[in-house]
């Protein structure tokens, strides 16, 4: 079997307690276009980074063209083996020209006249893939709109100087392309595979995957759970392969009594770019979920509501960050100070913070939300990740905020903590607080009274709790065809 371009056997990768890849087996044949689909956190991106040599796997084997590479698998050896990646976040240097960016991936573009060769190389490839692209090789990347940057990066991945092209990985390549250029790319994929290059295509556009791929692999929870020829899949069966049953957790979610239907509106907002008509509405005492694939405008909409741009918010709002290291905790402060910072104004006496009142508030919330520490004056970093996240919840809930915005706050939190926090959220909602909850975990949506699904920065569907199913969320997250 020398017809395989690349093969992975039992590849595993963990980040702390999170198991991103739980033993993946994957084979891509020479000249094959492999579609790779899966929901958030299924492990697609991690797998691609392993292939590109950007991440070292914890276990498992990798072979290229039937041969196991000698020595450490790295970005350089991946390049030398003819593997190229177009990552979701672009990998171009904005301060360099298109031709200069081509030079970066080609060690052979050097010496006298390298620039002329780089220009010719990238221009020829752009002409081949995207006829009428309108990009000059001397254009600086920073000057190009996002769509043209993506075109430049895609073209760069397919250019060849030294090592022949073996495998090109395209991670959401059409996310910034318009319908015409996306179609140009898909037809080029067929040309390229006919030449013997293997391609891995990752996309949330199922129509694209179904039409362009020869074979489709579905990933879930860090494993490849289904692999069939593209002809044997259709939208429904693909959805079914991606989904999982959410009945177990669903029970706890739906026990909540529905809020009064005539409650006042707490938040009314329209995401940037949303056409008139569709609106996001949260009533007092409601828990509203924001769903969809990661990075499709949910966080942006939360921030938009927080800054009250194009949004009406009744009463003060608080924001609970998901990326607690960079947006959440003050890591030089005590746990108590981290809890009370949002409420300092109500803790002042004669213009100074009243230490006794501050300590009392911190103690109250330690007991209410169950922060596990002997002393609230300890540094915040003495807590586990889950307890740090509880501290952020305490900060928001201890404040006067009536609307709580949550930006996927349960990332990397253990299940015990999650259950405690779920109970807390429901108790607070019963007391009349409103919650807007962006989550990448479909299970968590069962706690919501209503779910808005986002795609490409817009709300594509609003689902009431009674009608909620993973099928429907997936269906709304993955588009039929190009946007």
């Amino acid at each position: 079997m020398s017809a395989e371009a690349i093969r992975l056997d039992g590849v595993e990768k963990s980040f702390g307690a999170v198991r991103a890849l739980a033993g993946v087996d994957l084979v891509v044949g020479v000249g094959e276009c492999l579609g790779l689909v899966g929901h958030n956190g299924a492990g697609k991106s991690t797998l691609m980074h392993v292939l590109a040599g950007a991440l070292a796997p914890d276990a498992g084997r990798l072979s290229v063209g039937g041969i196991e590479p000698k020595g450490q698998w790295s970005a350089a050896s991946s390049q030398a083996a003819g593997i190229r990646c177009v990552f979701q976040e672009l990998s171009l240097c904005p301060n360099l020209s298109v031709a200069e960016n081509a030079r970066i991936v080609h060690g052979a573009l050097r010496g006298f006249g390298w620039k002329a060769r780089a220009r010719a190389l990238i221009r020829a490839k752009l002409d081949e893939i995207f006829p009428g692209h309108g990009i000059d090789p001397d254009d600086e990347i920073a000057d190009l709109p996002i769509g043209k940057r993506q075109m430049a990066e895609i073209a760069r991945a397919f250019t060849v100087t030294g090592a022949p092209l073996r495998l090109v990985i395209l991670d959401e390549p059409t996310s910034s392309l318009d319908a015409v250029t996306a179609e140009q790319l898909l037809s080029y994929i067929r040309t390229e595979t006919a030449r013997g290059t293997a391609i891995i295509l990752i996309s949330h556009l199922l129509g694209e995957i179904l039409s362009a791929s020869d074979r489709i692999v579905v990933m879930k929870d860090g494993k490849a759970v289904a692999a069939r020829r593209a002809k044997d899949f259709d939208r429904t069966s693909l959805m079914a392969a991606m989904g999982s049953d959410l009945n177990e957790v669903a029970v706890s979610g739906h026990l909540r009594p529905a809020p009064k239907p005539d409650a006042a509106v707490a938040v009314r907002a329209r995401p940037i770019g949303q056409p008139a008509g569709a609106e996001l509405i949260v009533h007092k005492g409601e828990i509203v979920g924001l769903a969809g694939l990661a990075g499709h405008g949910q966080t942006r909409t939360l921030l938009q509501i927080f800054s009250q741009a194009n949004a009406q918010v009744e009463g003060p709002a608080a924001f609970i960050a998901g990326d607690r290291q960079s947006d959440g905790i003050f890591n030089l402060w005590s746990i108590a100070a981290n809890v009370t910072v949002r409420s300092l104004r109500s803790l002042t006496r004669h213009g100074f913070v009243d230490p006794a009142a501050e300590a009392k508030l911190a103690r109250t919330w330690r007991d209410r939300i169950g922060i596990r520490t002997p002393d609230m004056d300890n540094n915040i970093l003495t807590l586990s990740g889950g307890n740090q996240q509880k501290t952020l919840f305490a900060r928001a809930l201890a404040s006067n905020a009536k609307v709580i915005l949550m930006d996927d706050p349960m990332r990397g939190v253990d299940i015990g903590t999650k259950l405690e926090v779920y109970a807390m959220i429901r108790a607070e909602a019963a007391l009349g607080r409103s919650f807007l909850w962006y989550t990448t975990e479909v299970d968590e949506l069962t706690h919501c009274d209503r779910v808005y699904v986002f795609r490409n920065g817009r709300i594509t569907e609003a689902i009431d709790a009674a009608d909620l199913s993973e099928q429907r969320v997936l269906q709304a997250s993955f588009a039929e065809s190009g946007a």
Partner: protein, 309 residues
């Protein structure tokens, strides 16, 4: 209307022209071979130090030790290089090597370059004071002769500045290595993904900075003829100001060697201009700062226009 990017690229040259015109207006006698020579001779070491700083800024770091480093080089060259040329050369090369090691350390341990180089500035100064506690020493005769050479028609400092700018421009802006160096500032992650060693790139850039710091120290000694550990303390800020005046930016690998040299010339000229205006030396630093702020404000305006269009 011209492209705002071109306008921004032209800004350093425009600034130099304005300062030059103002100087000629205040003191017409400077509009001569000897006048220019006198006014601009100290621009050569400043330009070299500015280029050194530019290499560091290219990879998104900042060097707060270049001034004392230039002073140390001068001290070594005025003492050891005379007494025992072999030892002197070895000491100077060791200084350049030390720069490379600092670059490696900053990258490998992910340290903030500002803190490391701020600490190092005291190390360089300390070593220089230990070698030469009070001003003294003697510049090697060849160095003195080179820095005061009388070139025909065009004064030496101008030729030197043009040569420095052109050479570095060719090396950094047009070679295939230069692309990697600037890319390391623009998107280090992308570079690492393409299989380039960031460590190696940083070491090379820091060593280049060391080489140009060395040249700056030698050039300055050739002019002052005797050494002083403190002679170049101000160069740290001059060099940063020169890079920024020349159109460079602190992060993102956006630098402009020709602009940086022009920025250094502008700073040197501004000093002379203020003397001609009989501004007391106490106020000169403040006045130079004011010029810097005006230029940067102009650039901010141009950038603002660029964003709006």
């Amino acid at each position: 209307m011209t492209n705002p990017r071109q306008l921004r690229a032209a800004l350093p040259f425009l600034t130099l022209a304005i300062v030059l015109a103002a100087t000629f207006y205040v003191q017409p006698r400077t509009m001569s071979y000897f006048g220019l020579n006198l006014m601009l001779q100290y621009a050569v070491p400043i330009a070299l130090a500015t280029i050194a700083q530019m290499f560091i800024i290219t990879v998104n770091d900042l060097d707060l030790s270049i001034g004392p480093f230039v002073g140390l080089i001068g001290v070594i060259a005025a003492t050891a290089l005379n007494a025992s040329p072999a030892l002197g050369v070895a000491a100077l090369l060791a200084c350049v090597l030390a720069y490379g090691l600092v670059g490696a350390l900053i990258h490998a341990r992910n340290l903030p370059s500002i803190v490391v180089t701020l600490g190092l500035s005291f190390v360089w100064l300390g070593i220089a004071v230990m070698i030469l506690p009070s001003p003294g020493g003697k510049a090697p005769a060849a160095l003195k002769a080179f820095m005061t050479v009388q070139t025909p028609y065009v004064p030496f400092p101008i030729l030197a500045a043009v040569a420095i700018g052109m050479i570095v421009h060719l090396a950094l802006m047009t070679t295939s290595f230069g692309v990697i160096a600037r890319g390391a500032g623009g998107n280090p992650k992308a570079l690492a993904r393409a299989g380039w060693s960031m460590l190696r790139t940083k070491i090379v850039m820091y060593m280049l900075a060391g080489v140009f710091g060395l040249l700056a120290g030698l050039a300055l000694l050739g002019l002052t003829t005797s050494a002083d550990a403190h002679v170049a303390d101000r160069y740290t800020l001059y060099s940063i100001a020169g890079v920024i005046l020349g159109g460079g930016e602190f992060i993102g690998g956006r630098v402009n060697p020709l602009g940086a040299v022009v920025g250094a010339l502008t700073l040197a000229l501004a000093g002379a201009f203020l003397i001609f205006l009989r501004i007391s030396p106490d106020w000169q630093i403040g006045a130079q700062g004011a010029i810097l702020i005006v230029v940067l404000a102009m650039r901010a305006l141009v950038t603002y226009g660029e964003k709006r269009s």
